[in-house]
Amino acid sequence: MASTTTLTAHGAPVFYDNGDHHPQQGTLLGFWLYLMSDCLLFALLFAGYAVLGRSYAAGPSGADLFDLPLVAVNTALLLLSSITYGFAMIGMQHGKKKHLLVWLGITGLLGLGFLSLELYEFAHLIHEGAGPQRSAFLSSFFTLVGTHGLHVTFGVVWLVTLMFQVGKLGLTHENKRRLVCLSMFWHFLDVVWIGVFTFVYLMGVLQ
């Protein structure tokens, strides 16, 4: 008898899974799992950058190219958009539709500002001959930062969609659920950006 079941003093088995820890509705957990898979995608892009980020092929390095004040402004925009989304969610919790829409609008504008600066930076780099085909460093740089930018783009599209949804249908249960999902998406992108500005830009300028 190779039974390993834990028994109490009276011989009754003790089960640690008592079945009352399942979430009531799985959307938020499911969306969280999607974000975790996205996290793995970004981890691979970061690993690619970590491996290739010093292969300049006799081309320019991060220290030659990166404009830290611009990155600082970009970081500020994204960080501000996180708290403005937070204010929007507080409006949602209190059932204030107008409050929610105004803060969502401001969040969207901050997101667009971030994207404009990033596109300006990319255009500037390509104009200087430091495009993605220049070196392994620049290929991995454009892939990583560009993928983050694409996520922000989809986030803005989603945000505008939800503004129309809320404007038309109001603060229904479904819309609240969608807003919570977008909230997780938006804050998650901010978390990824912490990795980008630290590992890519700040560390790139250091060497």
Binding site: P23, L40, P69, A72, T75, L79, M89, Q93, I194
Partner: protein
Amino acid sequence: MSGQHTEHHDHHDGDIGYHATVKGYAIGFALSVILTAIPFWLVMGKILPASFTAPVILSFAAVQMVVHMIYFLHLNAEAEGGWSLLAMVFTVALVVIMLAGSIWVMYHMNTNMMPVHDMQTMRNMP
């Protein structure tokens, strides 16, 4: 059993399960601003030697990620019955293995696949 479940969902947004507060966001934002400003200041002002700055700013990034998880993503052991925290722990483990593994393997490959003339120079080094 089902009677125990229902009492979790009595207030706020029903079963949306989202309880943000102005205070929580304000704390998270203030911490984020500090944790962002210091690394930029260290690098842009060249305050510390480069070899020392790198681990410092990476630590600031790690701390700020945790701050965002707690104050913005509202992650805690109770959210979704602990499943979201469990999923994140699993993801973090995978991320650490992938990042550390790739960097470690490629670092050693770069070092060991040095061109022959470089190795001869190395041999002549004191």
